[in-house]
Amino acid sequence: MTVVSAEHLEKTYQAGYVAVHAVRGMDFAIASGAFVAFVGPSGSGKSTLLNMIGCLDKPSGGRLTVLDTDIATLDRSAAADFRGANIGFIFQDFNLIPVLTAYENIEYPLLMVQDWPAEKRRARVIELLEAVGMTDQADKRPDQLSGGQKQRVAVARALATNAKLVLADEPTANLDHDTAYRIIALMKTMRDEFGTTFVFSTHDPKIMREAEVTFTLEDGRLVNGGAHG
């Protein structure tokens, strides 16, 4: 089953007076349960592509289907609902809410996005804390956690709502190599455990080798479509 499908995908945006062609005629498909990396140097269009797959942005041309939904048809609220129901995000800077504990950060989407009842919410958060090995850090706030621990919490948050697709934009860029490998390994374990499709971007050659499918981007074009690692 295909989770993401792009046909002649284009994205152009204005940077001042200059039109930037961030994505140029991409065609690709991502299968359910895949562990996929988009790789390429800075400015190659990785983040723009992930933003479109995550329904944070819309294509300028072509067609992008995520979980059988043409994302161009979604308005702002519908896109939010779609993300809340189907997509999890992991950010380069972790983006945990600074005043909430690790537990509360993982609980946040269950509380504010999906309205889970308290008991079910609690069970899910505890399950995820155990899965990412953060049970003993549950009451700590982000400023009391290391970079690796923060990213573990972010992975747990991304999985909290049973997302079918998790998007991670440079999830290891702010981590040392050992921690980066552990996070990638954790993501792979979570994929195996929960069956979630993981798509991440990176420009680190060592990290990209961990992906099972790799798409290489250059100047907004796909130069290597879906190489299997």
């Binding site: 944070l56 993300r83 809340g84 983006n95 709502t161």
Partner: protein
């Protein structure tokens, strides 16, 4: 909504410094307004009480046209005996009325046999007058009131005349008055007491017994110029006035015109303007409070949105609907308002209690030692609290709207 409120409360608790600062500003404004309302209300009540309880009464009834000519004290616009009976009947039917006093007002010449001057006189029934304006006996600054306010043949002389004409209690004076038919009559009286003016020594009103007044004016019928009315509860002035005006409004003369005119003390005393100024000051302070709350909450919420741009981007990216983001920030404004009003109200009640314990006194006119007794009514507290909370919500709307409409990609890039 409960979850959003819970999360908003948690955010306020975690952003402690900002919450304390904003709450402190709201509390400051609340305390300023509530204490001012309590103190000014007490001052107003005391002063209005002085005016109504020592001179005017709460309501007065006259024959139609009398008040327009009141400076001349026209005898031809007195209430005739049958009209007086109609008013007395109407007053008996109104439960809010505590007492009433008929007065016969006229001008006369006043002489101590060596000097003569003019005087305004009030013929009164001493017992009914004391019941209607209970502070009147307290205005007698010289002379005893052992057997009531007045007896037949005696006079209460205004201080200004007593001082100017060097009169003492027990002196004999002559009053000469012009009757309704134009003839002149004179009568001697004994000075029973010297009367202080309500707002100072400027008043020229003297008091004598109602029967003496009628005798001096050679009146055959029991006419009066006005009937002053005291209410059981001055705060119920408007409904009582309306009830009396409605009852007396049905009495018409042969031309179909109303026979009576009814006025509250506000329509008869220039102090009503000062009372209105106090109300205006109250309103001004309330407007200032609104401004303080509006500016402080808006400032804090704008800062909160600015400081939390990445947080907003994150929660938006993970699927929080714009409406929920709006509700979250508005809830924070709402809770700031609720917190500020709760603390502000408690603090204000404490200060008002302290002021009552301290028994602060002040003087008004010749009256010394009036004790300030500030009180806070539930309605005042309710209106101020509701206003503050509404303004706090209003102030948070714009920043909340901005947060809800934020583009998640731009917000996530924010440094």
């Amino acid at each position: 909504m409960g979850k959003v409120l819970k999360l908003a409360a948690r955010n306020l608790a975690r952003y402690r410094r900002r919450t304390l600062l904003t709450s402190a500003l709201i509390v400051l404004g609340m305390v300023a307004v509530l204490v001012f309302i309590a103190v000014s209300g007490s001052f107003k009540r005391l002063i209005v009480g002085q005016i109504t309880d020592s001179m005017l009464g709460h309501v007065q009834v006259h024959q139609r046209g009398y008040v327009a000519s009141i400076d001349n004290l026209p005898l031809n616009l007195n209430l005739k005996p049958e009209a007086v009976a109609q008013v007395e009947d109407a007053l008996k039917g109104i439960e809010a009325v505590e007492a009433s006093s008929p007065r016969l007002k006229f001008g006369a010449m006043f002489s101590n046999f060596t000097e003569t001057t003019s005087i305004r006189l009030n013929g009164i029934d001493p017992a009914r007058e004391a019941a209607t304006v209970p502070l009147l006996p307290g205005r007698v600054i010289e002379g005893a009131a052992a057997n009531g306010l007045l007896e037949r043949g005696t006079l209460l002389v205004p201080e200004i005349l007593a001082r100017g004409m060097k009169l003492k209690v027990g002196d004999t004076v002559v009053l000469v008055a012009t009757n309704l038919d134009g003839s002149v009559n004179g009568k001697t009286f004994t000075v029973r007491g010297v009367l202080a003016g309500v707002t100072g020594p400027g008043g020229r009103d003297g008091y004598l017994h109602l029967e003496d007044a009628r005798e001096l004016l050679r009146m055959t019928g029991a006419e009066v110029s006005e009937i002053a009315v005291r209410l059981k509860d001055p705060d119920r002035l408007k409904p009582a006035f309306a009830a009396l005006a409605a009852r007396l409004g049905t009495v018409r003369d042969s031309q179909g015109q109303p026979v009576f005119e009814v006025h509250t003390w506000e329509g008869l005393s220039p102090f009503a303007n000062i009372a209105r100024m106090i109300d205006l000051l109250d309103l001004s302070i309330k407007v200032m409070l609104v401004a303080i709350v509006l500016i402080s909450v808006m400032n804090v919420m704008v800062m909160a949105v600015y400081e939390r741009v990445r947080e907003i981007g994150t929660v938006s990216a993970i699927g929080t609907r714009p409406g929920r983001i709006l509700a979250l920030f508005v809830s924070e404004g709402l809770l700031l308002g609720v917190l500020g009003t709760a603390i502000g109200t408690l603090l204000s009640l404490g200060i008002v209690y302290g002021l009552n314990v301290a028994r602060i006194t002040f003087a008004f006119g010749r009256e010394e030692g009036l004790v300030l007794a500030p009180t806070l009514g539930g309605a005042d507290v309710g209106v101020v609290c509701a206003t503050v909370i509404a303004v706090a919500v209003l102030a948070s709307l714009q920043p909340a709207w901005k947060a809800a409409r934020m583009d998640p990609i731009q917000a996530l890039r924010h440094i």
